[in-house]
Amino acid sequence: MQTVALIDYGAGNIPSAQRALEVAVERSGLSCELIVTDSPEKIAAADRVVIPGVGHFKDCREAMFGVSGLVEALEDSIHKKGRPVLGICVGMQLMADLGLEDGETPGFGWIPGKVEHIPTDAGLPIPHMGWNELVVRTEHPVLEGIQTGNHAYFVHSYHMHCENPSDLQVEVDYGGHITAAIGRDNVFGTQFHPELSQETGLRLLTNWIKWNP
């Protein structure tokens, strides 16, 4: 029996993510317990961790640092225990070195890069809101069965620019290149919302539950 912790630090839509993870656990056929928590002890003990997030980069970062010991527990899980961690939307963006939304805010620095405003040259509406076609760049185990042309649901105004091209897993086109998923070692993140992306999203979450990096 493994434990999957979905961090609830007060940001965002927990019910969708929780239910989508429950379905992913069922589909994986593995014996897993899903917990929704902000307890650093429980997160430290979990076998895998999901970081959701909507809203501002800075607010989400402050909310996570606002729970004493939470970020330290996560860093222990990632760096010392090698456990899989999944970030969703702002939960992914926080993995970067730096966020540029309303001034400069340091990120956790787990995947080198910066979170910048989506290019506006094309004059397209911002936020980038809706379903976009994925362009899969790598053969990552979390992306098994997900192909270029599958759709996922996005809602964001900022996106991550990866320093190392090899960390970029999936991109989409919205008046230019937009980072859709990143991955490095045991860390994976999606700018889109797998919990709102129907079959494609459930497939990704199921792959992630089964992933042993």
Partner: protein, 255 residues
């Protein structure tokens, strides 16, 4: 490439859909959770619930409906109706809404948009505008379900909402709503050209060509409709295929 969205909208009162939704395959056509799931399976790109409950009790029931919907269909859900404070917005998001629509309360106090956006991020804040034509190239904002005139210019208000931090505008033509004669193209085009955020065209869709012109002639990035989908006059799949054939990029999953 970003796809154009089709958004079916359900009016919900005290936890039940109203306006006699008629779905052939559903045992309980009054259950918004089942309807949302059915629409999601048909390819709806988002679902919209408008809470028209008049009582606190009815609003409490809505939170339960939202929660059940979020747990049953993995499609983005926007909920509006009676939202007056950032706390109302947060309660709906915590229940499982992905975006929250604000209408009358934002007209009365546009800073509410900024306060909500500061708490939950602008992408969650949908400002719903009900507009009625008052003259050549002029529209007025109406509130309270389109019953009360405000004297506020709809185009200027849309710009203000965008500046205050709205993530999206849901623009309903009160002249066209319920007529099935097509969207108010001129209004939608005017608003879409004046704001930098996505605009959803609403009010008046009666046929698939209406959906097509609602996108191609306006700059809106989504079309919302209610009765044409509820009564099975148009299946969402068919609408999407015809829109795609007309050159509009639509999400059609082949697997």
């Amino acid at each position: 490439m970003l796809k154009t969205r089709i958004i079916p909208c359900l009016d919900v009162k005290d936890g039940r859909t109203v306006k006699g939704v008629n779905f052939v395959d559903l045992r309980d056509a009054g259950d918004p959770v089942a309807l949302a799931k059915a629409y999601s399976e048909q390819g709806a790109d988002e679902i919209c619930f408008l809470d028209i409950s008049a009582s606190e009790e009815g609003r409490g029931t809505m939170l339960d409906v939202v929660n059940k919907t979020a747990r049953n269909c993995f499609t983005p859900l926007t909920v509006g109706g009676g939202v007056r404070s950032p706390e109302n917005v947060i309660a709906l998001l915590r229940a499982g809404a992905d975006k929250v629509g604000i209408n009358s309360a934002a007209v009365a106090d546009p800073d509410l948009i900024a306060r909500c956006a500061a708490r939950v991020g602008r992408q969650c804040v949908v400002v719903a505008i009900d507009a009625r034509r008052t003259g050549e190239g002029k529209w007025e904002v109406f509130t309270h379900g389109g019953k009360r005139g405000t004297g506020i210019d709809a185009i200027e208000y849309a710009e203000l909402a965008c500046a205050k931090g709205a993530g999206e505008i849901l623009l309903t033509s009160m002249d066209k709503d319920g007529t099935k004669s097509g969207y108010d193209i001129e209004l939608t085009k005017m608003v879409a050209s004046r704001v930098t955020i996505p605009v959803i065209a609403s009010g008046g869709a009666g046929t698939i060509p209406h959906l097509i012109e609602g996108i191609q002639e306006t700059g809106a990035t989504a079309v919302l409709a209610a009765s044409i989908f509820h009564f099975g006059e148009i299946a969402i799949e068919d609408a999407k295929r015809e829109m795609q054939a007309a050159g509009i990029p639509m999400r059609i999953e082949e697997n």
